[in-house]
Symmetry: C3
Subunit: 194 residues, 3 copies
């Protein structure tokens, strides 16, 4: 039997420290000779758009027709799934994205169907901690929102991930990235990825 | 490229003031020359049932065989989707309906598949405010339930809407209709519909 | 018209007293001459695995290839659905199972599609009561978790059940099994099953 690679989707609201936790876990796993390839869904999708001469930058991609975007998402999902044929994959993306029109699912049906992830990880922490991290991150300009709105976003992420679990059979694992406890968060993610 | 009309589903538990917010938003949009047609899903479905001589009134429709109801729902969804070919549509319906057998999804898979909404709006407010509005509305007899049950219903609506987001790719937007702040609620809905 | 049997899925986290409530309800219904057959999903699935000589015990079944497990789940769902042709069925299973890799949906898409339940019941109670019941149940060794983790599990169960409602059109009914109020819980379940 051919052992296929694991497909683990790692998600979290902006400012929760998702990338820090992923990088920490990748280092730890590399030291144990467990190879994971990390792929950013948005970047991968943009590369597909570039190859097809559909967009020169990400803003252009966002302005593409809805049906074209859908096709690009599907192509990205299928490309990432193909990569897992000979590697374990971490897909760095969002459970949902907050837009002016509301929460948008990061893994809609046509993405899930192609990707069929094994695990969806939600990196979470206290909304107030997230707020403080956003306030102290001068390097990015983010639309500001209060703790209550952040809590609402995290709750929506859990709900939409439950729908992912129903549709794809993936497990949904919450990994907490608390202040002063980054190592604990990394440990948790490593235990899921190992 | 043919610009298709927006399909916006507006939902909310009984007593939250959904219709008031919709009517206010429609007026405001009309003044801006943005045309929306509002369709009540239940009414539209009943008209389909009448045309097929399946039901003379709504009670009769509710007593129809489950498979027939399903077909009627699907026909209604597909009819409404067709209307959006030359108009923006607001679909007035429920995220979920509370029945003696539990919460029933307002947009089950076979409806979503035909309708493919762009946005699902949840009109919400504090459960206690909803309770008071129901108590003071003498014009309707409603099954009474306490604030906690209303809170549970609103939470279920969020969860099931997350599933709608996964399956159809729609966004999910919460619009609050707080006491004394109706204009704010209307503003929010207008900004989504504009 | 052939009146098909009801398919009611009854779920609840370990220690909530699901089986006690089911047995109480079955007794009450038998006294009213309403016949229900109770099927444990895991047991039924294991019997399918045995018939196909795929597993001699449940541990072996759990170690089967993921694709084989999926096929067995689907076969079990379709077998149970067939039973409902001439009986009302209670399916005893979990909304989600807590695994080291996270929450796993008890009724993933391929199970739902075959089973198409009418109602999914969530037997719930206060997380602290569940904790105490687990602590005092010496007959089973369970992985211990605190009240907060139990609350999180129950919340995930609600969210994933909302996805079941979207996909299959089933209703989702919460039945509480509070300390000292077992009869009330049984009454509630009976009213759903009657």
């Amino acid at each position: 039997m051919i052992e296929l690679g694991k497909k683990v989707v790692v998600t979290g609201v902006p400012g929760v420290g998702k990338t820090t936790v992923i990088n920490g876990a990748m280092e730890r796993l590399a030291a144990e000779d467990i190879a994971y390839k990390a792929v950013n869904f948005g970047t991968f999708m943009f590369e597909v758009a570039q190859k097809e001469n559909l967009a020169a930058d990400r803003d252009e991609m966002r302005r593409l027709d809805k049906a074209v975007q859908k096709r690009l998402q599907q192509a990205a999902a299928s490309g990432i799934a193909a990569m897992s044929g000979d590697a374990n994959i971490i897909v760095d993306t969002h459970s949902s994205v907050k837009t002016p029109a509301g929460f948008l699912a990061g893994l809609p049906e046509w993405v899930l169907r192609e990707l069929m992830p094994d695990i969806v990880v939600l990196v979470e922490t206290d909304p107030d901690q997230i707020l403080m991290r956003r306030l102290s991150d001068a390097s990015r300009t983010r639309d500001m929102e209060g703790s209550r709105a952040i809590a609402e976003h995290q709750e929506f992420n859990r709900a939409v991930s439950a729908a992912y679990a129903m549709y794809s059979g993936c497990t949904v694992r919450i990994v907490r990235n608390e202040n002063f406890l980054l190592e604990q968060g990394i440990d948790d993610l490593v235990s899921v990825l190992r």
